[in-house]
């Protein structure tokens, strides 16, 4: 199970406790989290499912490459970090 962790700054707007997801891609992991917490979705991705411009996602210490489809691979013990980019302040 991959761990999914959200920036504490997002907690100001919407509940986003750490979660676990049995998934093989970032997209699949986030979709599982969003299914359990629908309000969170629009804060992380836009209506087309793309990562928001000023949100960054890391798998362990690697920033995701595919910000549109979020196809980056996830292994069972990976940690997925959802951060705000410094560019959006």
């Amino acid at each position: 199970m991959a761990q999914v962790v959200f920036t504490p700054n997002l907690q100001r707007h919407v509940s986003c406790p750490p979660a676990v997801a049995d998934a093989q891609s970032v997209r699949a992991a986030l979709d599982l989290v969003f299914a359990a917490n629908p309000q969170l979705r629009s804060y992380v991705v836009d209506e087309q499912g793309r990562l928001r411009k000023h949100v960054n996602v890391y798998v362990n210490d690697r920033m995701v490459n595919d910000r549109v489809s979020l196809s980056d691979a996830v292994a069972p013990n990976d940690e997925i970090f959802v951060f705000q980019a410094l560019s959006g302040g």
Binding site: H13, D46, E47, Q48, R50, V55, G88, G89
Partner: protein, 359 residues
Amino acid sequence: MSNVLHVGTRKGLVTFTRDAVGWAPSAPAFIGQPVSAVLSDPRDGAIYAALRLGHFGVKLHRSDDRGATWSEIAAPAFPAVPNPDDKAPAVDMIWTLVAGGADEPGVLWAGTTPGGLFKSADRGASWSLNESLWTVPERAGWMGGGYDLPGIHSVLVDPRDSRSLTIGVSTGGVWRSADGGATWRLTGQGLRAEYMPPDMAFDLKVQDVHRLAACASAPDIVWCQHHNGMFRSTDAGETFSEIKNVQPSVFGFALGVHPHDPNTAWFVPAIKDELRIPVDCKLVVTKTTDAGRTFTAHADGLPGVSYDLIYRHCLDVNADGTRLAIGSTTGNLWVSDDAGRHWSQIHGHLSPIAALTFG
């Protein structure tokens, strides 16, 4: 007179209430967050605040207790397309929120960048894109005006017929619908764009309308602040006549119309895109009471030298036309209690003001 003023700023929503002493600010709602549009719905008293979060996108909140508490509701969003690429549309900003007609409770309109018009029939619980406007061929020629993306900033709902809609697009002209948005026509004959090649100056689809406002008691009278001029329509936005030679400038963003006197309107002039500051750094409010034939510039109570720009949603007129408010990009807020002749500063240290409304 309205004794409540909601002010949407770069750092939150501040509500001012007038008491015996003066205007007192509330604790801000959404502190630190950019507010892009505010609506006080006269039909049911609800207040809506649109946020444009720097990291987390466009959000919409509603208060049903005059701002004491807020609930997040659905924000307008484009339909998801299969296999989206970088060009698939997404709402960038809610630029204006407008209540539907008195006979259609719960109906709201939202104008957005990149140019989508959205309707809610359930007080913002859900939204739908107006597909017929989004798919007009002319939209391919819409351009950004101030912002990178084109946007809809004005939505006029005719109080005599809620199906009659007039919208302003920056940059994309004036569009009208007689059937509640099912079909649209490009109107605005007479608008003139001097920033375009000469042969395109009167092209309806390139007009950079900054703001449209109608007289509530005479809705066929529509005033327009345009990128390179001031215009007035006597046929609900079908055609416009240009108002020329107004000092100190015919450029500006904000516009207010007297709710009961279609000959009275207020503008806030500035120097256009090359500078975007008040003319001679001297903020004034110009007022006409004769349908634009003459104007008087009022500066009493406004600063001697300043760089305050009044954006298009930052001038409001109360229900009887006697009290006005303006808010600036520099975070200054002024109110006039004598129809714009004299102004009092009620706050000087807000963050940049994006929208304000009595309510």
